[in-house]
Symmetry: C2
Subunit: 239 residues, 2 copies
């Protein structure tokens, strides 16, 4: 049992609340039973801190409520906190690839990851300037689905050029004009979604073969980006 | 020009950050130029505080940065803060009604309102235990679309019973089973969406004629509620 905030392991874990240390250690924190179980199932859990004995097939450490409270970013303290290793980056293997250009809101990114798995967009490319994947709000909004998709942070231009060589149709989005998503035919698709305020950046937009449009009431300028992504994936994904 | 936080008007407006006072005064705050312009267009703006002269067809008051900072809930201080009167509650007139059962996340409610207008669900019934419509995070997430829909906070059971008398088909949602939304035919629809964690409550679920299902990867238990609502509205709304 660990009772001190000055314990070396706890001091190290506390630093993981900071992106710089996460990147250095290639570790991140998760909170609550649901996420811990998903992490365990997906073999990324490396340590587990709990406040009392639990029934789980993993070698956990009991710590004080004070330690859990300090590690947690939630208002209501979770029963357990897991430490996970960074997810493996695999090659792009699926026919439906999502490319995210400068997504900034952590809740949006998490929600997008959850929807992407739901509609079988299992490769997600995150632009270099997007929000950190291991931000606690991103992880919470994924509801554990981040362990089941392949997420790669990379330069979008070079990934798009690679996809084009492999005959993917690159589809952008534009609130002003575009083709109704229902009209799109094609097996290999790279769907590009842009920043919450500015949309897809010009240099990326120029690389898109077509722009998509979701049919909606003209009084509404745009949808929330997680909603728009989900509707397009719902229409384009194969189930 | 107002320079003091002790000004009676400013003291009153500061209290509007609190739900109790909003309900008492039937007023709420909005931040930033986009929302202010939408409020003005929709004739709900009653006062406007700015930091310097602006070009707007409304009788504004200049205040100090300190006052705007205190009134704001944003990290980056907005250029203006508007004071709006509560929205009128109208009769249900549209054929597509959204009923929200205990929605708790303000971002979700705001996003749902934005999508509802996009897909022509212009009457929204909010259960008595849902998050406050005039919460600053709700308003921000609506992107000003809340001024263009009819939102009524009421007891869901009684509204559903009224809708049934008027031949609306009441559609619930259930993550375990249901009818694919694509199979639904019907002009008059009441769509019921439930709480983020628990879904639709049992007493409301029992009043539904059918349950809907969105076809998705079996690995995913559920979608974010704002995403699920938007996809169902996208399928059911008339454009």
């Amino acid at each position: 049992m660990i009772t001190s905030l000055n314990n070396e392991k706890i001091k190290k874990y506390l630093k993981l609340k900071n992106k710089k240390y996460r990147d250095m250690e290639e570790l991140f924190l998760i909170e609550g039973e649901h996420l811990v179980k998903e992490a365990l199932k997906n073999q990324v859990l490396v340590d587990l801190l709990v406040m009392e004995d639990i029934d789980i097939d993993f070698n956990y450490t009991i710590v004080t409520k004070e330690i859990i409270t300090k590690l947690s970013s939630l208002e209501s303290i979770p029963k357990m906190i897991g430490i996970c290793k960074f997810l493996d980056k695999k090659e792009i293997t699926s026919n439906k690839v999502l490319l995210l250009d400068n997504i900034q809101d952590p809740g949006n990114l998490g929600t997008i990851i959850r929807s992407s798995l739901a509609f079988n967009f299992k490769d997600i490319i995150l632009s270099l300037n997007s929000v950190d994947l291991y931000n606690e709000k991103v992880i919470r909004a994924t509801q554990g689905m981040l362990f089941k998709v392949n997420i790669i942070r990379n330069d979008l231009e070079s990934v798009i050029n690679e996809l084009k060589k492999k005959d993917y149709l690159i589809l952008g989005t534009n609130v002003r004009d575009g083709i109704d998503v229902k009209e799109i035919k094609g097996k290999k698709i790279g769907l590009v979604m842009g920043n919450e305020g500015q949309g897809v950046s010009d240099n990326i937009s120029n690389l898109c073969d077509k722009n998509l449009y979701i049919k909606m009431n003209k009084e509404v300028e745009s949808l929330n980006v997680a909603v728009a992504t989900s509707i397009l994936e719902y229409e384009l994904g194969e189930l």
